[in-house]
């Protein structure tokens, strides 16, 4: 099952490279990322699958906005028009079908290969000690919030640097011009109604993911992305860009500082050795919840800034 899904995913990734039109390329990218998330699920890591599924929509939306920005609407017509069907058939016959066949045979023979002996010492240690050391049932959450806190701090720093770079590289005077057109969704009563239903459900679901980060396959990053999708819905419905970006950026900075302080407090408190592992079990749960909440707010702020910056540049 997993081998067929992963070969399917590789086939989609190869097909992304051979697309000539831009729009079908975006569509294939969306498809390949969704199938990749299914493959992650079948390989046994639902956390990564959820992060991939939430990030795929954001990646495609940012790609769409960027292409619209860079090429402009008039030049895009050259990319969109249908190409000759003969070249497509040639590519399909010569390159892609043999590649698919080779991939499928490879996936079939993957099952008969001798497997290398695995060293399971670290895995067993994490599974044994995670619930007592850090707390919570989700061992992945225990690893990235307990044993590897510094990794998460540096990942948060990376996102912060990316947001700061986008804000400072895109010169923008802060005045949003509105063109006379209304947004496409606003004209349509049915889709307006349904986006209005879907938006609160996504926000509620994001809050649920953040709050139950220690128990279920979720956490700060996934929940933050789900909360940030509310602003996509707002952009779709009302066509408003009046978010105070500087304030949101300052909020993100302060929350990053709070994440660093929280993590260093817990590290100095001591996970290992001297303090017995069952020391203050309630504090462990509160620590996991607060870290998930802070990371969720930070990710939501960062992605709203990225999205609105791209949209604002595109409109002006």
């Amino acid at each position: 099952m997993t081998t067929t899904i992963m070969s399917f995913w590789l086939f989609c990734n190869i097909f992304v490279l051979f697309q000539k039109k831009l729009l079908s390329m975006i569509l294939w990218l969306f498809l390949s990322s969704i199938i990749a998330s299914l493959g992650f699920l079948f390989l046994g890591s639902p956390d990564v699958a959820m992060a991939e599924a939430t990030a795929s929509a954001f990646v495609t939306i940012i790609f769409i906005v960027c292409f619209e920005n860079f090429f402009g609407i008039k030049n895009l017509q050259n990319f969109i028009e249908e190409e000759n069907s003969k070249t497509r058939e040639n590519i399909f016959k010569k390159i892609i079908l043999p590649a698919f066949v080779v991939l499928c045979t490879f996936a079939l023979f993957m099952n008969f290969l001798p497997q290398a002996p695995q060293d399971t010492y670290l895995k067993n240690l994490y599974i044994l000690r995670a619930s007592t050391d850090v707390g919570g049932q989700n061992v992945v959450g225990a690893i990235y919030l307990g044993y590897r806190v510094y990794d998460t701090i540096f990942e948060a720093l990376l996102l912060l640097i990316a947001v700061v770079a986008v804000v400072h590289l895109s010169h923008f005077d802060g005045v949003y011009k509105k063109d006379g057109k209304q947004s496409e969704v606003k004209n349509n009563a049915i889709s307006l109604f349904t986006v209005r239903i879907v938006a609160p459900i996504t926000v509620l679901f994001g809050i649920y993911l953040i709050a139950n980060g220690a128990i279920t396959a979720g956490g700060g990053f996934q929940g933050g992305l789900a909360v940030a999708s509310f602003f996509i819905c707002r952009f779709l419905i009302f066509d408003i860009y009046d978010i105070p970006i500087k304030k949101v950026n300052k909020l993100e900075d302060t929350i990053f500082v709070a994440v660093v302080i929280m993590a260093s407090l817990m590290v100095f408190h001591g996970f290992f050795g001297e303090i017995p592992p069952n020391y203050l079990p309630i504090a462990q749960n509160i620590y996991l919840f607060i870290m998930n909440l802070l990371i969720g707010i930070k990710v939501a702020c960062g992605f709203t800034i990225l999205l609105y910056r791209y949209v604002a540049i595109e409109r002006n």
């Binding site: 496409e184 889709s191 879907v198």
Partner: protein, 108 residues
């Protein structure tokens, strides 16, 4: 009692896959975009709802069936809307049926 629930859920799931099979055939049989979207979108929604209700029956009263019912409601709201927006913007952007256009020209 559990055996009876299993049999009922099996029947639901098999019927759902049959619906989905019809939807997949309908993509390849028709030659226009409009007839394709007319046939496949409805059948796809129906198949998904029957399979999910079969899963909900199999697990009885539990969190699992509650979440499947939530998923069913979401699919019931979202899936027709997707096809509606797709069709609407296809018409707005000027997609026309080639056969119908040829017939109109012949009639003129």
């Amino acid at each position: 009692m559990e055996n009876l629930l299993h049999i009922i859920s099996n029947i639901f799931i098999v019927v759902g896959t049959f619906f989905i099979l019809i939807g997949v055939i309908a993509i390849f049989k028709f030659k226009d975009f409009f007839s394709r979207i007319l046939s496949t979108s409805k059948i796809d929604t129906v198949g998904a709802i029957t399979i999910l209700s079969g899963l909900a029956i199999r697990h009885g009263i539990s969190w699992f069936s509650a979440k499947t019912i939530l998923l069913m409601i979401l699919i019931l709201i979202i899936n027709p809307l997707k096809s509606h927006t797709l069709l609407r913007y296809a018409v707005i952007s000027g997609h026309k049926n080639k056969k119908a256009k040829g017939n109109k020209e012949v009639a003129k």
